[in-house]
Symmetry: C2
Subunit: 209 residues, 2 copies
């Protein structure tokens, strides 16, 4: 808005597309796919209904674009956390878990996760995308770290290494649970995750050395 220079058509088109996606995310999260109205999306984006259809083939395409736009950058940032580093496997997993928690606690992001869970039956293609692009790589890297941890004898139970889900489940439940169990989810998730890590890796000897 502040810069007035090259408001070239192309630039404006991109801006509008982004505005539409942002608006769509809000409306879909609030109403779900079926009950969301394209007119509302358009209004919220400050655009006419027809304009929405210039960028997106139909409601479903808009839905997919909105979910992907929200989740891809998050997945990328979380994945970056899992790059091989110097510290212990526990440190790596801890960093990953807290980053993921922060990312998914971002209200919009958490909402979209719940949206995807809710609509997953009706959007198998989107679900596949989500598994392939978001969960899959994270899960894989996490599995590798667990194997490393098992090799180092860091784990309470070596069996744990076979089930990356055991690492991410409480974090995911905190995120998903924000919807289903509001005040129940009011417990501070950080000590919860720390207790979880302590169970997996044995009590931490943080400050104490």
């Amino acid at each position: 808005m502040t810069e007035r220079k090259k408001s070239s058509r192309a630039d404006k088109a991109v801006e509008r597309r982004q505005a539409v996606i942002a608006a769509a995310t809000e409306v879909f999260v609030a109403k779900g796919f079926a009950a969301a109205r394209i007119e509302d999306v358009a209004a919220r984006a400050g655009v006419a209904k027809g304009t929405v259809y210039l960028s997106f083939a139909d409601k479903e395409a808009l839905f997919e674009a909105a979910v992907k736009a929200q989740m891809l950058p998050v997945a990328e940032r979380v994945r970056a956390t899992l790059e091989p580093g110097p510290g212990s496997a526990r440190q790596a997993i801890e960093a990953f878990l807290f980053t993921a928690l922060d990312e998914l606690s971002e209200p919009r992001t958490g909402d979209v996760v719940r949206l995807v869970v809710g609509e997953s039956i009706r959007f198998p293609e989107l679900t596949r995308f989500y598994r392939r692009e978001v969960i899959g790589p994270i899960q894989q890297r996490c599995a590798a770290l667990l194997i490393q941890a098992a090799a180092n004898g860091e784990l309470t139970t070596p069996e744990t290494a076979r089930y990356p889900l055991l690492v991410i489940a409480p974090m995911m439940m905190v995120v998903i649970g924000r919807g289903v169990m509001q005040e129940m989810g009011l417990v501070d998730p950080r000590p919860l995750l720390r207790a979880h890590l302590d169970a997996l890796f044995g009590p931490s000897r943080d400050g104490a050395a």
Copy 2:
């Protein structure tokens, strides 16, 4: 159908009501609330559309009734598992977890759980019911068992006792995940849960002394 005696009108009305609820559950699970058509529910129940409205004020009431009818008996059975018993806390929690897993793995039940998660934003009242009647009591009893376990020194980390969520999270993720991560969820959940319990309580010495 088999008994023909007192097919009194009242009885028939009850039967119909149940048939409608069963049909509604299927349709809601398959389509979600908004996209589910009352006509489909009626057809599946072998009843005319108007008949649905004899028992239920509107679509929303039918939705709530369907979810409650599905979840209340399940919650009751799971709760029964958590009654105080003789064995160790670990044994009690293990029994509870596996019962809950079996119950929630029942296709219909798992589907309804995912349905509730998905529609939770749009049905705060239903969400409250779910938390109050289904999750709440289970969580409470589970918390009591954890405290007992902590007192007995059964836990790897006493801190765990403060977060019942840590006990149920992997089991819940397996259930919810069946939708979002089909083949990923193909891992056999029972050894997974056993590994989880081993992490919380320390390796089991099952057969061994």
